[in-house]
């Protein structure tokens, strides 16, 4: 190459690259029932857009001989099913993200699994997509899983759908079969308000109507899949919504600079705009905006920026900045759709962590309003929520958070639920509306309050929460502690598991959901007694860490004293004061703690009582000593 030619070529490439700068990006997913050809379709798209390199093609040929599902041919699904287990079983287990580009757009595809067991991975892929390609095997038509995926896509706010009626080669490229399925889907999806719905007959395996037309379907005059993907106008709703900015990080390099870093969730912002912190309603004006490329006069949804304000106001991570004209809701109760993603069922009343935007709070489901049958959309009653079920629930949060309905704003209306023990992500939620009930009940600020009452009683109120196996000696020890306190002139009350079950909680059984409710009620009663200034002794097996945490969260700082009565199960069994272990061993009692239901020992109890070869009197004295040391017993 001469120097001139080389230089010209380089300028051309530079121009080409700079032109790419303005290229648009479309994120989509493939979904639908097992084996309908989702992975094969992505493989086909990659293959036809020449994104498969020679060495990868050679590997594909080797893999196809080993794991292929299509005889002698290359199995395009193997380009996408990248995990060993997937290749061995010939199915997709988790989402694969793949990339290809044409002159018009860059595409990020999420190939999701069809198996019901892995629905959460489908939801993962769908949550960031602009468009869904829903595959149907032309031989089978719409299946339960097709409907479930369509429903989840719609629930997650996907407004553009391609109905890919695949394996058309196996029904002789039949137009009537295509029309039949298309019509059935249109009726089914009528309530989903998809903005675009494009049905395309195709063969992922042989390539018809994927990137090229093929010769078998003269009757079809619509676009190929790729033509449609390149041109479909998906808009950007986030740009049209009011300005929302969840503060991610406070940028404080020195005393002269205080900026708030984050990603603009929706709308746009300019220097000089008046902003408000949702909740405390503090206001200020935008002084500077630092974008990824330096200072800018304005910025819009999707951009990661740092904003400085005219006034020094107290703002931290988790706060939401918005325009003063259109403010978000702020509430500690709301109604939301939930997709449950854990093998452990969702139990109303059990506390979970809820992450919304950049804020994390504790939340419980106060009520499952109804579950949704994904096939018929019927509302079904339910006390718990199992893996992959979808329900409409009321939530109660530990503190008020700012949000918008999901329909109006995908960023500020979505949340995830995290299990506090396993740290797993167990659910995904989409908010519908705030529940106003809570905000109407304002607590009466009485002059006679907890402080006044406890002062009068000469003690600091507390809850002594005795936990341990059945027969560990909880009640015996608790009753000695109470006697000692009484003699000492203290005001006390005892709530005992067995007694409460005869009255307050007699409507509850022993299912997990009922156990949670049992604890919740006892916790609430204990809280009221604490408010009355009493030292309350609760003696409850309370086997689950999370339920004890729930009770702890109800009390004031330092008021909850977890007393772990630690007696080895062999000793409890020997004692068996109520003959319960014997019964459980005979299978007459189900869900018996220590036998067929776990006991989660406290990790860091305030008081740890080792109950082996010791007198209950001595042990009780340990509890009294703790109370005295911590100043609960006054002077």
């Amino acid at each position: 190459m001469t120097a001139d030619v080389k230089e010209a070529a380089e300028t051309a490439v530079t121009d080409y690259i700079l032109a790419q700068e303005t290229k648009d990006q479309l994120r989509f997913l493939t979904c639908g029932s097992v084996d309908d050809g989702k992975s094969t379709l992505i493989g086909r798209l990659l293959f036809d857009t020449k994104l498969i390199f020679e060495d990868q093609l050679a590997a594909l040929e080797r893999d196809s001989r080993k794991h292929g599902t299509v005889g002698e041919d290359i199995d395009l699904a193997l380009l996408v099913d990248g995990l060993e287990a997937e290749r061995e079983q010939g199915i997709t287990i988790d989402v694969a993200y793949r990339f290809f580009a044409t002159d018009k757009r860059k595409f990020i595809v999420a190939d999701t699994p069809g198996h019901e067991q892995y629905t959460r991975n489908m939801a993962t892929g769908a949550s960031t997509a602009d468009l869904a390609v829903l595959l149907v095997d032309a031989r089978n038509g719409l299946l339960v899983q097709t409907r479930r995926h369509a429903f989840i896509a719609s629930l997650l706010g996907i407004r553009h759908v391609v109905l890919a009626i695949n394996k058309i080669d196996l029904v002789e490229y039949s137009q009537s079969r295509f029309d039949e399925i298309r019509k059935e889907f249109e009726v089914f999806a009528n309530g989903f308000d998809f903005e675009t719905l494009q049905a395309i007959p195709m063969s992922a395996r042989f390539g018809d109507n994927v990137t090229a037309r093929g010769q078998h379907m003269d009757w079809y005059s619509g676009p190929t899949l790729l033509e449609h993907l390149e041109t479909v106008e998906v808009g950007e709703h986030a740009l049209e919504a009011p300005f929302r900015f969840p503060v991610q990080w406070v940028n404080r390099p020195n005393l002269d600079f205080r900026g708030y870093s984050g990603t603009i969730a929706s709308g746009r912002v300019s220097v000089g705009d008046e902003l408000v912190v949702a909740g405390p309603a503090k206001m200020s004006r935008v002084k500077n905006i630092i974008g990824a490329g330096g200072e800018v006069p304005e910025a819009a949804a999707g951009e990661a920026v740092t904003i400085t304000l005219e006034d020094e106001i107290d703002i931290s991570r988790g706060d939401l900045l918005s325009t003063t004209a259109h403010r978000p809701d702020v509430a500690d109760q709301f109604a939301a759709h939930v997709i449950w993603m854990s093998d452990e069922p969702l139990l109303p009343g059990r506390p979970y962590l809820l992450k919304i935007g950049t804020r994390t709070v504790t939340a419980t489901v106060s009520e499952i309003k109804h579950k949704i049958n994904v096939n018929t959309f019927e509302h079904v009653a339910g006390k718990t929520l199992e893996l992959n079920e979808i329900a409409f629930c009321n939530f109660a949060l530990s503190s008020a958070v700012p949000f918008d309905p999901y329909e109006a704003n995908r960023s500020t209306g979505s949340f995830i639920l995290i299990d506090r023990m396993s740290n797993a992500t167990v659910g995904a939620g989409m908010i519908w509306f705030a529940l106003r009930r809570a905000s109407n009940i304002h607590w009466q600020a009485l002059d006679v309050d907890k402080g006044a009452r406890s002062e009068k009683l000469g003690q600091k109120p507390a809850v002594l929460w005795f936990t341990g196996l059945s027969g560990s000696g909880k009640s015996t020890i608790a009753s000695i502690v109470e006697k000692k306190l009484h003699i000492d002139g203290r005001h006390t009350y005892t709530l005992d598991g067995d007694n409460v079950r005869h009255g307050l909680n007699k409507d509850l059984g022993f299912t997990d959901a009922d156990r949670v409710e049992n604890i919740r009620r006892v916790g609430e009663v204990a809280r009221l007694f604490t408010d009355a200034g009493l030292i309350t002794l609760v003696s409850f097996i309370s086997p689950f860490q999370s339920e004890r945490q729930l009770a702890r969260d109800l009390m004031g700082e330092g008021e909850f004293i977890e007393v772990f009565v630690d007696t080895p199960i062999e000793i409890c069994r020997q004692r068996d004061p109520k003959g319960l272990y014997a019964k459980a061993d005979r299978g007459e009692i189900k869900n018996f703690t220590g036998i067929d239901s776990p006991y989660e020992a406290p990790q860091t109890p305030e008081v740890h009582l080792k109950n082996v070869d010791r007198e209950p009197e001595d042990i009780a004295e340990e509890v009294i000593a703790y109370l005295r040391e911590r100043g609960f017993l006054g002077s």
Binding site: D63, Y97, E303
Partner: protein, 309 residues
């Protein structure tokens, strides 16, 4: 950009801008949620882009975490030079870690082979370094388009207390809400560049003018042909096999790693635009130049389950 005020439909962010914003969001989220994060810096183009994004994410502050380079002692000399210059230029904390037992036993790619060398000097060394400093999150510059098991990985990839990845049981990851909760000893590998392709990386390097190790550009370099690859003779620890001769060839590298394990390609591309041009017409993937991936077809997944990045 202010389309709305001119009455035009608002425009979506371009591809690169969207990728850039997504990466910055992830980098900030890690910094905000974890108590002791670290950024793995492997000196290559992806690390370079990731570091550039981290500088932007916290500007005018410095990134609130150190860089960590796991040094196998077999990197190209130019890489080491570039690494030290970069840390100095940006004023960042750079931690360098080498597996002490590996060093003592003189584990090397020539005598022990690529897989033993990589396992001890990279995977094991990385785990030791993470344990030593007690990092609860580590950024990596890996991209999903590099390899088929990488295509399956989350942005926040959970690792158990022994650094293992369980690909069949990953946490769901919805919207841009990342779950950063880990118990003591467990950690998260964060991949801010997950959605970038090799072409995106080069386009970004070009538009942002990000400094890169010169080895990416073609130049005359001493190489020998071995196992069908061109290996550069970077220092005198490389012994020639019978019949091998050192030749001066105009070559460059598509990825950078340990010099005895990284194949060069013959090329005239000595400027960035020329590289991109070659890439647009390339017929092989970038990982082809790496010996370590060839050992077995599912090797990357296996290594990742053992704690590799």
């Amino acid at each position: 950009m202010n389309m709305q005020s001119h009455g035009i439909t608002p425009e979506r962010l371009s591809n690169l801008k969207r990728l850039e914003a997504e990466s910055i969001h992830i980098i900030r989220e890690v910094a905000a949620e974890f108590s002791n994060p670290v950024m793995l810096y492997s000196i290559g183009k992806d690390s370079g882009v990731m570091l550039h994004l981290a500088m932007k994410a916290f500007y005018p502050s410095k990134p609130p975490f150190p860089l960590l380079h796991v040094d196998t002692t077999w990197k190209f000399r130019e890489m080491i030079q570039f690494r030290d210059d970069t840390a100095k230029r940006l004023g960042l904390d750079l931690l360098i870690y080498t597996n002490p037992e590996g060093l003592q036993k003189n584990i090397n790619p020539f005598d022990h082979g690529s897989s033993v060398h990589t396992h001890i000097m990279k995977t094991e060394a990385l785990k030791q370094a993470l344990d030593k400093y007690g990092f609860d999150a580590a950024f990596g510059g890996a991209r999903r388009d590099e390899e088929k098991s990488r295509a399956k990985e989350r942005m926040f990839s959970f690792r158990n207390a022994s650094h293992g990845w369980d690909p069949k049981n990953q946490r769901p990851e919805l919207w841009n809400l990342y779950n950063a909760r880990v118990a003591k000893g467990e950690s998260i590998r964060a991949f801010p560049l997950s959605n970038w392709t090799e072409l995106d990386i080069w386009q970004y390097i070009l538009t942002e003018n990000i400094p890169m190790v010169p080895l990416y550009l073609a130049a005359k370099r001493p190489v020998v042909e071995r196992d069908g690859m061109l290996i550069m003779v970077d220092d005198d620890r490389m012994k020639l096999n019978p019949g091998e001769i050192i030749q001066e060839k105009k070559v460059r590298f598509r990825t950078l790693g340990c010099y005895p394990l990284t194949g060069a390609i013959e090329s005239d591309a000595d400027t960035l635009p020329a590289i991109v041009r070659e890439m647009l017409i390339a017929r092989t993937s970038e990982r082809q130049g790496r010996l370590i991936d060839k050992d077995e077809s599912a090797s990357m997944e296996k290594k990742k389950r053992e704690g590799y990045f």
